[in-house]
Amino acid sequence: MTLALVLGSLLAVVAVVIVARPFLREPAPASDRLDELGELDRLRLTLAEERDRALAALKELEFDHRTGKVSDDDYRAQLGPLRQRAAEALRALEPRAEATREVPRLQRDAAR
């Protein structure tokens, strides 16, 4: 019983220290504010998802055409609108410098 009490108390102390650690490490932080996505970040994320979807759709269309699931006519009919959608998604992200730099690599990845 005594051993159990000692071990139990030790366990409690360790747990309390772990839980209190963020406060012990930073007793007076410059900022305690939790990072949160701003409206611009949310918009950027939506656009990035849209861009990835558009590039993936192009990749799928290409693959489906090569494996015979999409006929030549359907391929030609769908390619234009999908390319346009992808271009719009890429353009929408263009103001951000890093996005522009990443586009060629993303396109390479999509073409793989």
Binding site: L5, A12, P22, A48, T67, K69, S71, D109
Partner: protein, 648 residues
């Protein structure tokens, strides 16, 4: 040491409550350190629960009968492996296993996603809420650490649980059940934090796949255990406990498919939230079914200490998830719509509707006896014909869709392209159907349809791999560029093997039963079984009686089988011990049961010849392989996602 176990569980409860309250406050008030502290509480809860689990395992290993749980579930003579497996053999131990796995998963999920603070911040209180419930049950309702004066020996273990499968089957099921909490918590966390983008799906993709795989393998092991241990010749009986695991698995299967529509097309956001909530709630419902005593009767449920608490928790979870989804509906609206009813996404949708319909009909079948007993006072239950009807109605079209889906293009498909891609699978299906009828196997319509559809699906899978390999240049490149898709096709191949095995072993099985004196024989489906002799031996904790039965085919000896019975003196129970010959010729089994042995030495031998049944078990290996391929990390995709979420 029971006091240490109790203290550790109390600490787990306190830490879970703290993680719930502090986590919610931190998320609402945007407090960074408080959020981290709540995460640490969840991590610590794993540590304290592990200590509690080790105390129980240690008591089982030492056969410490002063623990009431130990005395009720094992005996001194029980082999150590089974004694340790008693951890999940009873209600209290099972609840502790739930909490142990939940806190382990929670700690790992929070640690792996520690950089996605705004996503994790609301996930922590959801996980902590579930952990609080289970820790509460273990501390105040159903503790495994109750103690009493130690009896001379324990009550022992039910003989059917003394089987090696019991070492793996329940923990795997629990790994699956509990694993579904992670996508649920992330989904609800995403709704609470208004982050309804795909981040939560990306974060939980592998968690869902892993939980689904564990649940699938756990069920298959359970089916094999029933096959070799229960001694009735089958492997699935639509038992409520079996259905309890099948329902969340079906819901998770639907989710794994529909999630791809959200990723590819940005559609079905509400549906995915509904499915992830359904899968989680069904997993809690499954635990409730197996542990509350409600399966036996409403009376045992009302007498069970945990039944009411569980029911309350399930109602709370359903209200919480439905309410939250409804509250966030405006954020979940899709900006795109289905372009054509003949497209890959449409087939995924049909597949989802069939899976959910099958899941809900099983749910109705499971709850119907409980409802009639609660409302009318008399139990009316549904049985095998009810389930078989819906399995055929929804399962056969699902099987066919497994072959159709991969052949249809995304967005829309023209009739000409469909005609070209479907030609070979249709020819394969027609030839198979005609051949089966020609050789006289058209007697069972579901069996005939299952095999015809299976030929269609098999041809479509082979075509997918060959056309894809031709397009990319190599098979490894093909699989590497889309592991989820081709891993998924391997899983489809496993389901196909399962369907062929089930159809063969049920629609085309032969059953005979006969009383035999020593030296007499019986004929079953081309096999001759001769009763040679009988003997009794003493095993570690049982007395084993075995008949010796010679099996021959075409006059040639193929096997010697030993069906019999075990008598367990401590438990005062008798178990059927079946003996099986696996025939490599038809991938089937000759399954023998010693139904009775009378005083005159007459053996009442029941023989089942089950063609193709071994494909059911082979499917398990292909299933795991396919799931591993689908789960394997993809460097290109990870780079793309890293770019997408670089600043979020």
């Amino acid at each position: 040491m029971a006091a240490l176990g109790r203290a550790a569980l109390l600490l787990s409860f306190g830490l879970a409550v703290y993680a719930l309250v502090a986590g919610s406050l931190a998320a609402r008030q945007k407090k960074r350190r408080l959020a981290l502290s709540a995460q640490n509480a969840l991590l610590s809860a794993f540590g304290t629960t592990l200590v509690a689990a080790l105390v129980l395992w240690s008591a089982l290993a030492r056969r410490d009968l002063s623990f009431v749980y130990v005395a009720q579930h094992i005996s001194k003579s029980l082999p150590t492996g089974y004694a340790l497996s008693a951890f999940w053999g009873g209600q209290e131990g099972s609840l502790l296993l739930w909490l142990l796995i939940l806190t382990a998963y929670s700690a790992l999920a929070v640690f792996l996603n520690r950089r996605n603070r705004d996503l994790v911040v609301w996930t922590v209180p959801v996980l902590a809420g579930v952990a609080t419930f289970f820790a509460f049950m273990l501390c105040f309702v159903s503790s495994p650490f109750e103690t009493a004066a130690a009896p001379a020996d324990g009550a022992g273990m039910v003989p059917s649980l003394q089987n090696p499968y019991m070492l793996a089957h329940p923990p795997l099921l629990y790994l699956g059940y509990v694993g579904l909490t992670i996508p649920f918590a992330f989904g609800m966390g995403a709704l609470l934090s208004r982050r309804t983008d795909e981040r939560w799906l990306v974060a939980t993709r592998r968690w869902t796949l892993a939980a689904w795989t564990f649940l699938g393998v756990g069920q298959l092991l359970g089916a094999h255990w029933a096959y070799v241990e229960i001694g009735w010749g089958g492997y699935y009986a639509w038992d409520p406990v079996e259905n309890a695991a099948l329902m969340p698995w079906l819901a998770a299967t639907a989710f794994l498919h529909s999630v791809m529509i959200q990723e590819k097309r940005g559609m079905l956001k509400v549906w995915n939230m509904v499915l992830v909530a359904l899968a989680f709630n069904l997993s809690v419902f499954g635990t409730f079914l197996t542990r509350s005593g409600v399966v036996n009767s409403i009376h045992s449920f009302s007498q069970s200490p945990i039944g009411g608490w569980f029911l309350g928790f399930i109602v709370m979870c359903v209200v919480f998830s439905v309410g939250l989804i409804y509250w966030r509906l405006p954020l979940l609206r899709a900006r795109t719509k289905l372009e054509s009813l003949v497209s890959r996404e449409a087939t995924f949708l049909y597949n989802n509707l069939l899976l959910v319909a099958l899941c809900l009909t099983i749910l109705w079948g499971v709850t119907y006896p409980l409802l009639t007993q609660a409302v009318r006072g008399t139990t009316r239950s549904v049985s095998k014909p009810y389930y078989d009807f819906f399995l055929h109605s929804f399962g056969l079209p699902l099987l066919l869709l497994m072959g159709i889906g991969p052949l249809v293009a995304w967005r829309r498909a023209s009739l000409r392209a469909l005609g070209r891609t479907f030609f070979i699978p249709i020819v394969a299906a027609v030839i198979t159907g005609a051949a089966l009828i020609a050789v006289g196997l058209g007697s069972s319509t579901p069996g005939l349809l299952a095999y015809t559809f299976s030929a269609f699906v098999a041809a479509s899978i082979v075509l997918e791999f060959t056309r894809g390999t031709r397009a990319t240049g190599s098979l490894t490149k093909l699989v590497a560029r889309n592991r989820r898709r081709y891993g998924g096709y391997l899983v489809h191949a496993a389901i196909l093997l399962l369907a062929i095995g089930i159809a063969g072993s049920s629609a085309y099985q032969t059953v005979r039963e006969k009383g035999l004196k020593q030296g007499q024989s019986m004929q079953v489906a081309g096999y001759t079984l001769t009763y040679e002799s009988i003997g009794t031996t003493a095993e570690a904790n049982a007395q084993a009686t075995r008949a010796v039965v010679d099996v021959s085919r075409g006059g040639k000896h193929v096997a010697t089988l030993h069906p019999g019975k075990n008598f367990y003196p401590v438990e005062n129970q008798v178990s059927n011990e079946v003996s099986i010959y696996h025939d490599p010729r038809n991938l089937g089994d000759v399954f023998t049961i010693a139904d009775g042995i009378d005083r005159n030495g007459t053996l009442f031998l029941k023989v089942l010849v089950k063609p193709l049944v071994n494909l059911v078990w082979a499917a398990g290996f292909v299933f795991v392989f396919g799931a591993l391929v689908a789960m394997w990390p993809d460097a290109v995709e990870q780079r793309r996602l890293a770019v997408r979420y670089a600043t979020t």
